[in-house]
Amino acid sequence: MSTTATVSDTPQAAIAPRRIDWLPLSLAPLLMLIAYPLVGSASSWLTLTVAGLAMGMIIFIIASGLTLIFGLMDVFNFAHGIFIALGAFVAMTVLGALPDWTQADSLGLNLLALALAALAAMLAAAIAGLIFERLLIRRVYGQHLKQILITMGGMVVGQELIKMVWGAQQMALPLPAALGGSLIWGEVAIEKYRLLALVIGVMVFFCVIGVLNRTKIGLLIRAGVQDREMVESLGYRIKRLFIGVFAAGSALAGLGGVMWGLYQQNVTPQMGAQVNVLIFIVIIIGGLGSTGGSFLGAILIGLLANYTGFLYPKIALFSNILLMAAILLWRPQGLFSTGNR
């Protein structure tokens, strides 16, 4: 039934001016409202909400790259986690090499070190992404089954390579000195790092949305999503665009890896596989290839994880999967379906 509905919707949606689908957007405020009486005190509610939003932002940064790759290239990259792990490891190396900057009691130097680490991580992940695309994915465009297999194989190999370079054990990734600890207003405690994550997450969201909606490259990317052959026949080299998007998506994964590693305060070669699960849940909830959807999905996951972690710790471990099941019962295609795929 659901498929017939989307088929008849698509032509209208293409012609009519774009309507914003408000219903899913109201979910996050709704969740906050429901949680308020359950949590009880206003200060813990505020702490939990900010923590949840920040966690959502970090998850979004990780997932945004894969959403891009899904959306434009229709590539099922199960090896996305490997770029996340790579980013985290590179950041660890860079931060480890700058002890004077990270341990200095100056926010400026700390942030500078962090920015350097993030830049290095993004660069490394983008380069790895380029190599990955050229070596593995280039030959399997349009073949979904092979894409899943190949990228899964790439994941295994990548994880082994990381083990070879950095060793197989878990390593600590401490926060720079000025970013540790919390800000306290009255009874509300907010970790400083989560505030930073909130800011970076919102920045990434607006950058991605801005590039997609306001620039010529974004226009071409969106056109490529709609009709690849038409863009090609207008004389644009869509292949180059594809490679660029893949590198950009990998770079975002690298940035996400830095954020996630600092959030967990440790890195392991297996972290990619663990994070993969989270990303997939976010993408399923949001609707494949929809940036707004994955933003919303990440926020919902972050909020729910923090609320349930406070209220019912046993259920918190399964909050993701329960949320996914509930959303899929309501909208089998995810919150925002991108339509043509």
Partner: protein
């Protein structure tokens, strides 16, 4: 008679037939041919994995769906027997109850996953199974009162299958016929029956529809088959066979824990074996499993020698270190997806066609 047993799906390659006969004879005579505990353990593991991998092939190779929850069903089977034997004591009825409950649970779960995701898009299914499998792993470690948590469960089996039981006073062909040997042959016979059953299924009319769906879903639907129903059925069948493989594993080890049956590493192993052995060829499960598990158990020793010999060359020795064998397997996996899409079995079959 033999053709009937194999459901008319003969190996179709002389080399493959010889290879299969050697493997089957080797496994059948393993307790008498190879001495030592390790050899028998390896043989039993090969048997269990043949069932597990063949059941995955039913899904991946014949229906063209990638699932990452296969170890979940494997684990359900293993935990089913383990929990039943721990809670109800070592007797046959508790094994029967364990199997019945495990199969029922797997059926319901696989049905639910299928209904949730298979009607939308194949990719949903892959991503969702990954998520569900991880949650299940968390669940099993949370319910430590039942599952023993990270320590797992050690349990005893009915007397006949326990190592202290002796069927004959005198050794037969120099081997004592004890409970362990009987368990091995129980696993062997179960593997043969289950494998032949799966071969029967993929060569039935039902199996042909699955292959049609794999080749061209749209066309299969146009002919009038409800693809969602067939995909879900294949999903449930493969889950049940995986559960039974888990039961065999638990019976053999008399132990079960998350690492032995639920872990994601095993999932990766299954995927590697199916692809390297040959997707959509049940025999690939036999060849692939045997080669893979022999390599897993004996190649590491070989690589250790290689690493020692090349110790002076820094990069090469770290590439050859025994911990890196999965790296080479991953490379082999990728190469075989590209160049040998039908795996070892497919290659052997086409070799024959080329020579004629």
């Amino acid at each position: 008679m033999i053709a009937r047993l194999l459901s008319g799906d003969s190996p179709r390659s002389r080399i493959l037939a010889v290879l299969l006969i050697v493997i089957v004879l080797g496994l059948a005579g393993a307790p008498f041919l190879f001495h030592g505990v390790k050899a028998l353990n390896v043989a039993a593991k090969i048997l269990v994995f043949i069932v597990l991998v063949a059941s995955y092939d039913l899904l991946l190779g014949y229906t063209g769906i990638v699932s990452f929850a296969h170890t979940m069903f494997f684990g359900i089977g293993a935990y089913g027997v383990a929990i039943a034997c721990t809670q109800m004591g070592p007797n046959w009825s508790s094994i029967a109850v364990g199997i019945a409950v495990a199969v029922a649970l797997s059926t319901v779960l696989s049905l639910l996953i299928g209904i949730f995701s298979l009607r939308v898009r194949a990719i949903f299914y892959s991503m969702m199974t990954l998520a569900v499998a991880f949650s299940f792993q968390t669940l099993s470690s949370q319910l430590s009162d039942w599952t023993g948590g990270d320590d797992g469960l050690n349990f005893s089996l009915p007397d006949v299958l326990s190592p202290s039981y002796q069927l004959f006073d005198e050794p037969v062909f120099g081997v004592t016929v004890d409970g362990k040997l009987l368990t091995y042959y129980l696993v062997f016979i179960a593997t043969v029956i289950l494998f032949l059953l799966m071969l029967r299924i993929v060569n039935s009319a039902f199996g042909r529809v699955l292959q049609a769906i794999r080749e061209n879903t749209f066309r299969a639907e146009a002919i009038g088959y409800n693809t969602v129903v067939f995909r879900t059925a294949s999903n449930v069948l493969s889950a049940i066979f995986a559960t039974l493989a888990g039961v065999l594993l638990a019976l053999w080890l008399r132990y079960n824990g998350a690492d032995t049956s639920l872990s994601f590493e095993i999932m990766i192993d299954i995927l590697l074996i199916v692809v390297i052995g040959g997707m959509g060829t049940m025999y690939g499960a036999i060849c692939g499993t045997t080669i893979f598990i022999l390599a897993q158990n004996y190649l590491e020793d070989l690589m250790a020698h290689g690493a020692e010999a090349t110790q002076s060359i820094p990069l090469l020795s770290s590439l050859l270190s025994p911990d890196r064998w999965l790296l080479w397997l991953g490379v082999l996996f990728i190469l075989s997806v590209y160049f040998l899409p039908t795996g070892i079995v497919g290659k052997l079959r086409t070799l024959k066609h080329a020579s004629r």
